[in-house]
């Protein structure tokens, strides 16, 4: 299986849209059935290529949101960006039955496999939640008991992706703890006022560094640099912090 995944990576495969689901008013999940899909590992992404009638093509990277499965299907959650070239099409115009080209799965560093039984700290900024959600889903489908904590930084409650599913997981699984860090507007019962994550929040909501967790930090580049810096400053081993940067706006390119 691993050999197939490595050798097949260069190929562009046809993916058919088999489902659409709105996560928020500006984020939509696309379910894709991919020809000859070799399977994936949580944290990996695909490149999606759109080609216009005049031959102009655009390529964007999107993290796979779904857990590994054997049904040849993957899910991508895409945010509609105001000046996006590709995201308005993918979030508003694509319909079931449309075909896209995908290349992947890509990535061998920013991945989590169920064989990893150690303590895991996830830190998501906005759309950076996608690959981390794949890890949480992978953990669930593999019945892993690895201790997971998620620190999810997001503007306001309506901007949370996968809210119900995250709620259900944290309700039923005591070894998964989720902290929401609202940066603009917090709910009335929120324990902290809105603001970016800081050393205090890291100290209160992440694993104690003495546990030497493996950390995955994902989101816009500025968020990742800031969060990784805070983790290192609080004592986390830099070699155990894995990062994926989504660029200035948080849109993967």
């Amino acid at each position: 299986m691993a050999g197939t995944a490595v050798l097949g990576i260069v190929t562009w495969r046809t993916a058919t849209v088999v489902g659409l689901r709105d996560e928020t008013p500006t984020a939509r999940t696309l379910a894709l059935a991919v020809d000859d899909w070799p399977g994936h590992v949580a944290g990996q992404h695909v490149d999606v290529r759109l080609t216009a009638a005049d031959g102009y093509s655009a390529v964007r990277s999107y993290s796979i949101a779904s857990a590994p499965s054997s049904d040849g299907r993957i899910e991508l959650t895409i945010e509609q960006l105001p000046n996006g070239e590709v995201s308005p099409y993918l979030t508003q115009q694509v319909v079931v039955g449309d075909e896209l080209e995908v290349r992947g799965p890509i990535g061998r560093w920013f991945v989590w496999r169920p064989e990893q039984s150690g303590t895991i700290q996830l830190v998501a900024g906005g759309s950076g939640i996608v690959p981390l959600m794949a890890m949480i889903r992978s953990r669930a489908s593999a019945n892993s008991t690895a201790p997971f904590r998620l620190l999810y930084s997001v503007r306001e409650p309506v901007a949370v992706w996968y809210r119900d599913e995250l709620q259900a997981i944290s309700d039923h699984d005591s070894s998964v703890t989720i902290t929401y860090a609202y940066t603009r507007t917090a709910p009335k019962d929120s324990p902290r006022p809105p603001g970016r994550i800081d050393a205090g929040l890291i100290a209160h909501s992440t694993w104690p560094p003495i546990l030497s967790p493996t950390c995955y930090v994902c989101g816009p580049t500025s968020f990742v640099e800031s969060a990784a810096g805070l983790l290192i400053a609080s004592g986390y081993d830099p070699d155990k912090i894995r990062t994926e940067r989504f660029g200035p706006t948080g849109e993967q390119k």
Binding site: A2, V6, L7, I9, V10, V41, H45, D47, V59, S61, R103, G104, I106, G107, R108, W109, F110, V111, W112, R113, E115, Q116, P220, T221, S222, E225, R242, T243, E244, R245, F246, G247, P248, Q252, K253
Partner: protein, 93 residues
């Protein structure tokens, strides 16, 4: 290009293009910068995808590690900015 500039991606974003030449996924590879001599995970490189091609820069000194262009049916890769790339062929994760 000051250190406050956050318009870069990282090595994860370049892996798809690099897979045209590299058989193995390079994100977990370690690369030694030919300019400053530090060795870093390629996933941590600062990558710029908007230009005529892909440019990957050392996260430490910002010197160019590699650049890749697609010229018609040809892929051209310059890795002169790296002294070496090191991959664990047995590693799964």
């Amino acid at each position: 290009m000051s250190s406050q500039n956050y318009d870069y991606l990282d090595g994860n974003a370049a892996a798809g293009e690099l897979s045209k030449i590299f058989v193995m996924d390079v994100t977990a590879a370690e690369g030694k910068c030919a300019h400053c001599g530090t060795t870093r995970r390629f996933a941590e490189a600062h990558v710029y995808m908007q230009c005529p091609g892909v440019v990957a820069r050392c996260a430490g000194c910002e010197h160019v590690l590699l650049r890749l262009v697609n010229v018609r049916q040809r892929v051209v890769l310059d890795v002169s900015g790296m002294t070496y790339l090191s991959l664990d062929t047995a590693q799964t994760c």
